[in-house]
Symmetry: C2
Subunit: 260 residues, 2 copies
């Protein structure tokens, strides 16, 4: 489980802009998630302050954004792409504990280490905040802390839905639930960014192995459930990952409820 890759590209709206101290940097002005992410609760003045400590970073699909052991340096919000959060046991077993879509926040607030890995599923762009400085901001901007708190509560709700799925659902229910949940989540993320999207057609950015690590199943079982869903005429799949949900009501019926 090594980081499989070159250094991420760093490009900075960083620190001292020559325009002086009170201008919103272009990177924020055109930010995909300016209006819906953590920053959405900030007025211009606060945002200008926050902006000074941020950097934009890009990761290629498969790159590790942070890991288990090493002390956490940065928090981040996802501007673009999909991130998986995953726990890895010494013996190699792996449990994916969540997916991050724009404008999700990643990193464990108020702690020096994460207890999981964050890995880019697609090419990913994030906006990073150095840990110490960001913690300072949290204390001085109650609105920021409040927003982060709400995002955290949503994550907790999600984690608990996922627990229900992992503990009680059959393989078919799990796979169906993943498709329904992933599509909802992706569509929602797109809507927040005013990106046109069809909730029933999407690219499932996870390999079969990644899906099985998420659902607590094996690759083969996941594959068999996909075949079953195709056979039942509920979905079609092109190029392994391009999903088309044909009968959403029936799928939702099988999934019982959505895990996201």
């Amino acid at each position: 489980m090594q980081s499989n890759s070159a250094q991420p590209k760093i490009s900075g709206q960083n620190c001292e802009s020559k325009d002086g101290d009170n201008v919103l940097h272009p990177t924020c002005l055109v930010c995909e998630v300016r209006a819906c992410g953590l920053c959405s609760e900030l007025n211009n003045e606060s945002l200008i302050k926050l902006q000074k400590i941020t950097r934009t970073r890009e990761y290629k699909a498969g790159e590790q954004i942070f890991c288990d052991e090493e002390p956490l340096q940065n928090y981040a919000t996802i501007k673009n792409g999909i991130v998986k959060l995953t726990k890895i046991l010494p013996d190699g077993r792996q449990q994916t504990i969540g997916l991050g879509f724009p404008p999700d926040f990643i990193g464990r607030a108020f702690k020096d280490t994460n207890s999981s890995f964050a890995i880019a599923l697609t090419d990913v762009t994030v906006c990073t905040f150095p840990k110490e400085l960001f913690n300072g901001f949290l204390s001085s901007l109650p609105k920021l802390e409040h927003k982060l708190f709400e995002l955290t509560l949503n994550e907790l709700d999600q984690a608990r839905e996922l627990m229900l799925m992992l503990g009680q659902m059959s393989a078919l229910e799990k796979v169906t639930g993943l498709l329904i949940g992933f599509s909802k989540r992706l569509h929602h993320s797109n809507q927040l960014q005013n990106i046109e999207s069809d909730i029933n057609r999407f690219e499932l950015q996870l390999s079969r192995a990644e899906i099985s690590d998420f659902l607590g199943l094996t690759i083969e079982t996941v594959s068999r459930q996909f075949s079953l869903l195709k056979q039942k005429g509920l979905i079609t799949i092109e190029n392994q990952r391009q999903i088309h949900i044909l009968d959403r009501p029936e799928m939702e019926e099988i999934a019982g409820h959505s895990p996201f």
Copy 2:
């Protein structure tokens, strides 16, 4: 899944005390979790304000503290006893998503409904806060909100550990992990309250059915794992629930890591 019981006993340090407005009520003065719970971050002045909206409530073992559907009326901190949080599917399947020990907070902040049930495992005493009033307090007392945020982050960490357990662990690992985790959690709660306790001897306040709902197993499988652990000489059980861990290192080795 009905509430199986009489109305909980209500006793109030409530509202207008005759001593005037600026005295700490006796109930808070002798509170078991005054120093470690949500209130621990409040100075006397804030606590006096908060105290005015609180009520002490008692529930018998088995009673429902709140449920799934009905709009949430109150938040609470646990003063005494153990609470289980659980999700129930229409078809009767059930997944317990966490346990609450003193001084844990229960209830979903900033939302009108919980998406789970809270059920008293033992006789339980809680300190309740009416939702609306408490939300007002959160906005006006940043320290209170911050503390609640930290508690929520801990819960999220726990939920994710549990996901790892549900998705990847064998039956034996799950049962062992539960025993190790439950004992740690209980011992920790006792320590916070300066209650003497032996981490390796405790009453597991869950029926086999409740354990199986927690671990995503059946009653029979849970029972077999207990028998196996006894056979290996790692634990003894008296009266079905009184657990004595004989070889903690070996148990921790099997559990791999603790789910709490």
